[in-house]
Symmetry: C2
Subunit: 109 residues, 2 copies
DNA sequence: TTATACCTTGGAGTTACCTCCAAGGCAAGT
DNA sequence: ACTTGCCTTGGAGGTAACTCCAAGGTATAA
């Protein structure tokens, strides 16, 4: 339970491949990660939290470009607002899905 | 309100480009559409409903390959089951999103 | 008959998001 | 000194889902 993880460890904890994590840093989705004395990446708890947020946003359909905007936001309240908007969009799509489900249900008697 | 639409009309009604609709037929996501005497595609109400379902599934994050499986299902009850599973997956992701939202809310006091 | 407004196909090109790999550096164990 | 197991970079390759032509056919209106 240390506050420092290697790329392998963070990869296992988050469920993204090491390549993907490095790729996210390359495209500046993730801010530059600290390095140890021999140039290896070292991840903090904060990095892990951010990565977890990124995964959640990705899983709920946000594109990496949109997530970049999220990451660039400075305040918690701005991020909060963006999350709410995102959630609202999904809910709208979910309502449409629910409508289709109900139509099928009726068609089955 | 006729039961027959040109590709241009269906494109406008559904909100997909004509190219995309033809592409969906090419990759066999959509079954072969009827043609008129000079080879133009003509879409029925049934085609329109299916396309609407496809759009909804796409908007809720289903891949075209998954949607192909959905389209290939023969019975309404099989489709219904697949929709419920899909909905459940999204809800799980939504719960995770909600968790993050609540953390932000707490962090703002 | 010519202009326009549709439509057709095949195939090339594009964007997003990885995924894989080669070549190589560092360090701890045997 | 050598093997093992980490890690690094740069760049090529891959898949999904479009998107955009070019070349050409048909029908209606002027």
């Amino acid at each position: 339970m240390e506050d420092i993880y290697s790329i392998k460890q963070i990869s296992q904890q988050i469920g993204l491949s090491e390549d993907t994590i490095r790729y996210y840093e390359k495209i500046e989705l993730l801010p530059k990660v600290k390095r140890n004395n021999i140039g290896y990446r070292v991840y903090s708890l904060e990095d892990r939290d951010l990565l977890n947020n990124i995964v959640c946003l990705k899983n709920t359909g946000m594109t990496l470009n949109q997530i970049k905007l999220y990451v660039k936001l400075n305040t918690i309240s701005e991020r909060y607002k963006m999350l709410l908007t995102h959630k609202k969009n999904i809910e709208d799509q979910m309502n449409e899905l629910q409508r289709i489900i109900e139509i099928k249900l009726k068609a089955m008697e």
